[in-house]
Amino acid sequence: MLNFFKSSVGKKYLMGLSGLVWAGFVAGHMAGNMTIFISKEAYNAYGHAIVSNKLLLYGTEGALIWALITHVVCAISLSFSNKKSKGAVHGGSPNGSKGANLGSTWMAIQGSVVLAFVILHLATFKYGTHYETTVDGVVMRDLAKLMIEVFQQPGYIAWYVVSLILLGIHLSHGVRSIFQSFGLLHPAYQPIIRKAAIGYSVVVAGGFLSQPIFVFLMN
């Protein structure tokens, strides 16, 4: 058992499993945020419903924290050992038809940017200014006000655009690789998995991007 998690294959299972937790979370998070397109009240009520359900909130947060730590620790461990395994290359890397799948070669850099983004994003919103509002007689946090305030700044929008595009690229390789790491690859499904992973990433990153841009343009 312990040997399993120490092995390169076992670490990849952990990377895949923890990545899957976040890949699932971002899709749900993106879909929920779409309430901003309905109204500020709908957005605030949605946020309030989530924080009011303590079981859902703490369960999700627990899973996300476990997944984040596992993903980052495995990524650092794998990156270092992989670098050691490769040694120095002087004459160029595989290119043309023998080149690596785009996005897969700089997963660590994308991941680092996404991690920085997650930390700043939590600081900005979860632990950001606490405005209050009342929707249907219930007092709740006015996240919509904070969101509008934050996304009036073009610098923030630019940072979100860059980070979310990188998240999309990271997801496109990650989601596809889960199938390989978990042994679910099959010759017949290989091209479909590739396309589905790209589609999934475009929907998630595109959906997330639409929200700050919408808020910026509408206010």
């Binding site: 390169s8 395994s85 040694g87 160029g92 799948n101 897969s104 679910l184």
Partner: protein, 263 residues
């Protein structure tokens, strides 16, 4: 001899006297190269000139020169076995290149493949992976009758396509992590596809993955470069199969299947 136009190329070749010495690129001119020459024939000609000048010829591995033995291989401008797909460097012909090309020739790069000399690397780590589990238990003696052991066509095809791996090491050299996952998984898949391979099924995958890691190969990042560079087109699906086998074996393993004891 065809009357096609001869080419002149510049070769930047990695020269390293031994595993303990440091190496560097050295430039050589390959003059009047026929497009019909194989890459190794072109290197032979360069070496002839070096020898006639009293210089040390460029060392490179080769044997059958038919693309089936797995001896040859080095990087040409970053690509294992050169730019052409499904080809070993001995079967790569100079018609793939143009007059005036500058080519970087570098040995396979991997901590597990130390350079022996110039473009030659020590691939005995692959042998140790095979030794750790790439075998089956059979009675020795006469060859059994053909079809005495029925094997479905699909399984036989799968075993054959995985067994096509010649162990050249291009997968490791192409991988940014120097992972041996494609090689190891081809051997695992080959033997698990046939009934003869079932006896050691669990201990095989556990042992081969363990040896692969212990030899210092990296983890698979599924960049796909290994399969794209493989002269035998070994599929990435093999790696998925190996991972699944490894998971099953790690959690199913019975104490008596531990090979390490008593060895």
């Amino acid at each position: 001899m065809s009357d096609t136009k001869k080419m002149n190329l510049t070769l930047r070749v990695w020269r390293q006297k031994g595993s303990q010495q440091s190496g560097s690129f050295k430039e050589y001119l390959a003059k009047d190269v026929s497009p019909d020459d194989s890459f190794l024939e072109m290197l032979d000609q360069v070496n002839e000139q070096l020898i006639s000048k009293g210089e040390d010829p460029i060392a490179f591995d080769h044997d059958c020169r038919e693309g089936i033995c797995g001896s040859c291989g080095f990087m040409i401008n970053g690509n294992a076995h050169g730019p052409q797909k499904s080809t070993t460097v001995c079967q790569l012909h100079m018609r793939q290149f143009s007059d005036g090309d500058v080519l970087n020739l570098e040995p396979w790069r991997a901590a597990a493949f130390p350079v022996i000399k110039d473009l030659m690397v020590d691939r005995s780590a692959f042998d140790r992976i095979i030794k750790s589990g790439g075998y089956i238990s059979v009675n020795t003696g006469n060859a059994p009758d053909g079809n005495a052991l029925p094997i479905p066509k699909v399984n036989a095809d799968e075993a054959f396509s995985s067994a096509a791996c010649i162990g050249c090491g291009a997968c490791v050299a192409s991988c940014k992590n120097a992972s041996a996952a494609l090689f190891t998984s081809a051997k695992v898949t080959h033997l698990l596809s046939v009934p003869q391979g079932q006896v050691e099924r669990e201990r095989r995958v556990l042992s081969m993955v363990e040896t692969m890691d212990a030899e210092g190969f990296g983890a698979c990042s599924s960049t796909g470069s290994c399969s794209a560079s493989c002269p035998k087109d070994i599929s990435l699906v093999n790696i998925a199969k190996m991972n699944k086998e490894y998971l099953k074996a790690a959690f199913n393993k019975k104490p008596e299947t531990n090979l390490e004891e008593g060895v």
